[in-house]
């Protein structure tokens, strides 16, 4: 049959179910693609032998009544996988082999899929371009000089290059949605608490959420359905009935009220981003949705708030890397304290160290009120902005990012200019809301751009439905030439 790997997950599942392709054939096709795409550097670890064993087992005794029957999946290397090295993109975890499986990946495997490999990411998910990874830059399949976004850059690159039929990432300030936007793919950050954080290498625990990255909205619904659900092992997991997102997907959005926040029109935003936003509004309006101007007045304070809250939580979470119980240990250091200091200095990269220092400082005696407490108060104001708006609307439409994918090295010398990339994605994490980035068009260089749909808490179905209707009418096609193979 024709190349199966450029199809959507939903089509691949149909082909497996109708026995047009076996799980083994499918897995071999991805192995072949991955081996010829080393230039992209999307993988930290591959698990081909194990994947082919799993495929064979499936083919010998297939169960087609599962959500992901016989589907090989690569996942971000931030999810702990039992007996498979998990690095979080860091040198400090270069030799870490978990003895347990993260809940989210376990959920995926329980629905019939299996692991194909672990995908590169920014170190501890701290970055917007995948340039902070200890395992090297990842290349965007869109162009050989372009970053794939971050932190889930290996995930977006592998997905767009047909190296995995779908994938998962984590999103603390935009780490799923921004790379999805940069690669012309779909990425969803669920409501905080919908997907278990158990077994995910922690960055900022009040913001971290795992979510799907896929080629289509339907695929996104399938993956979200498979990975989400209550987990006793995560104390912030929401206990609610499981939703059937893919079965309940509808493209009728007539009468829905879509909010357009005026604060998302920022200075120096390229004209194309604005034009694309206009195009998005028109498509939704033509489908019968009602556009409503709204105001989220504290939007500009979201990033400064984030750069207090996230580093504070990170400095606390990353205190565990001490070279004693797991991970890298420096060979230098005369005494215990010096061993800690050398281990952490050699084990962490520059961006991670910067954020640990910011976090340590804002939590330190005498500065807590001025920074951390202040940030918690502004976070309240940001959340209230959304709460007020959602009294009169169903969802919010914004651009996903202020620009398309930038060049490797372009922003590495200026941390703040890198941080500004997440200006449209960060508010959602602070408010714990679900948001979807969907491909909507290209800029004048032909690089993909995305639009973001923000929903009320636990209203994933509605933003998926709007995305589904949008996708059918948008006419975007991700045309990536396979220059790397």
């Amino acid at each position: 049959m024709a190349d199966i790997t450029n199809q959507s997950l939903n089509d691949i599942i149909k082909n497996v179910k109708t026995k047009k392709v076996s799980s083994t054939e499918l897995t071999k096709a991805y192995v072949k693609n991955i081996e010829s795409a080393k230039k992209l550097n999307a993988f930290v670890t591959t698990t081909f032998d194990q994947a082919l064993d799993n495929a064979k087992q499936f083919d010998n005794k297939p169960n087609f009544d599962q959500l992901l029957p016989g589907i090989p999946l690569a996942v971000k290397d931030l999810f702990c996988t039992e007996n498979t090295k998990t690095t979080a993109g860091s040198n400090i975890l270069n030799n870490f082999i978990p003895s347990y499986e993260s809940t989210v990946t376990k959920n995926l495997w329980d629905h019939g899929s299996f692991l194909l490999g672990k995908l590169n990411c920014d170190e501890f998910a701290m970055g917007s371009s995948n340039e902070t990874s200890y395992y090297g830059n990842v290349i965007n399949p869109v162009g050989d000089q372009l970053v794939p976004g971050g932190s889930s850059g290996g995930s977006s690159s592998a997905l767009a290059a047909d190296l995995t039929p779908a994938t998962i990432g984590t999103d603390t300030g935009g780490s799923i949605r921004q790379p999805a936007s940069f690669t012309g793919t779909v990425g969803l950050k669920p409501t905080y608490g919908l997907c278990s954080r158990w077994g995910i290498v922690a960055f900022a625990s009040s913001l971290d959420q795992a979510g799907p990255m896929t080629k289509t909205i339907k695929d996104c619904a399938i993956m979200l359905e498979a990975m989400s659900g209550f987990d006793e092992k995560d104390s912030t997991s929401i206990n609610k009935k499981k939703e059937q997102y893919s079965k309940n997907l509808k493209d009728n959005i007539k009468g829905l009220k879509i909010g357009i926040p005026k604060e998302y029109r920022v200075d120096n935003m390229p004209k194309e981003v604005d034009e694309l936003w206009e195009k998005g509004k028109k498509i939704l309006k033509d489908l019968g949705a009602q556009l409503i101007d709204i105001s989220l007045p504290h939007t500009k304070y979201a990033l400064p708030t984030y750069y207090i809250v996230a580093p504070a939580e990170a400095s606390s979470n990353l205190a565990r890397y001490d070279g004693v119980r797991y991970g890298y240990r420096s060979k230098q250091g005369k005494d215990l304290i010096e061993m800690y200091e050398k281990t952490r200095s050699e084990g962490f990269g520059d961006e991670v160290k910067r954020r640990i220092l910011i976090g340590t400082y804002v939590l330190s005696s005498g500065y807590y009120d001025a920074y951390y407490l202040k940030a918690q108060k502004v976070r309240q104001l940001i959340k209230k902005d959304f709460d007020e708006s959602f009294k009169k609307i169903d969802a919010i439409l914004t651009p996903s990012t202020p620009s398309s994918a930038f060049k490797i090295g372009e922003k590495t010398n200026d941390p703040v200019s890198m941080y500004l990339n997440d200006i449209f994605t960060v508010p959602v994490n602070l408010a714990g809301l679900p948001a979807l980035s969907m491909p909507a068009g290209v800029d004048k260089q032909g690089h993909p751009l995305g639009l973001q749909l923000i929903g009320k808490a636990l209203d994933e179905q509605k933003i998926l439905n709007i995305g589904y209707a949008f996708e059918k009418n948008c006419g975007f096609k991700n045309e990536i030439k396979k220059w790397w193979s």
Partner: protein, 95 residues
């Protein structure tokens, strides 16, 4: 406020990260530009705002205080950079 090199060395000490003398300069510059950005928050009056401590409308669940697993010493020691049968080994602490 601005951070000087001494302050940064102190914070690094608190964070248990040794910092190369050669890198202190550029680190100081980076952190100061980040703090300048962060301090935009001072434009806002938040005197009457309650701090947000949890984004969820539920309180954290507690479970019974009982052992749910155990007897996994080998698994736990497996990833240790240095161990001695049943213990993690660290540089000598007591003289």
């Amino acid at each position: 406020m601005s951070l000087d090199k001494e302050k940064i060395k102190h914070v690094a000490k608190l964070a248990r990260i040794s910092v190369d003398e050669a890198k202190v300069e550029s680190l100081t510059k980076d952190l100061n530009s980040i703090f300048k950005f962060i301090e935009q928050l001072n434009e806002l009056n938040t005197d009457k705002v309650e701090p947000l401590t949890s984004i969820l409308n539920q309180s954290l669940r507690s479970r019974k205080d009982e052992i749910s697993d155990g007897k996994i010493r080998e698994k736990i020691l497996k990833n240790s950079p240095k161990e001695n049968e049943e213990f993690f080994v660290v540089p000598k602490v007591v003289e």
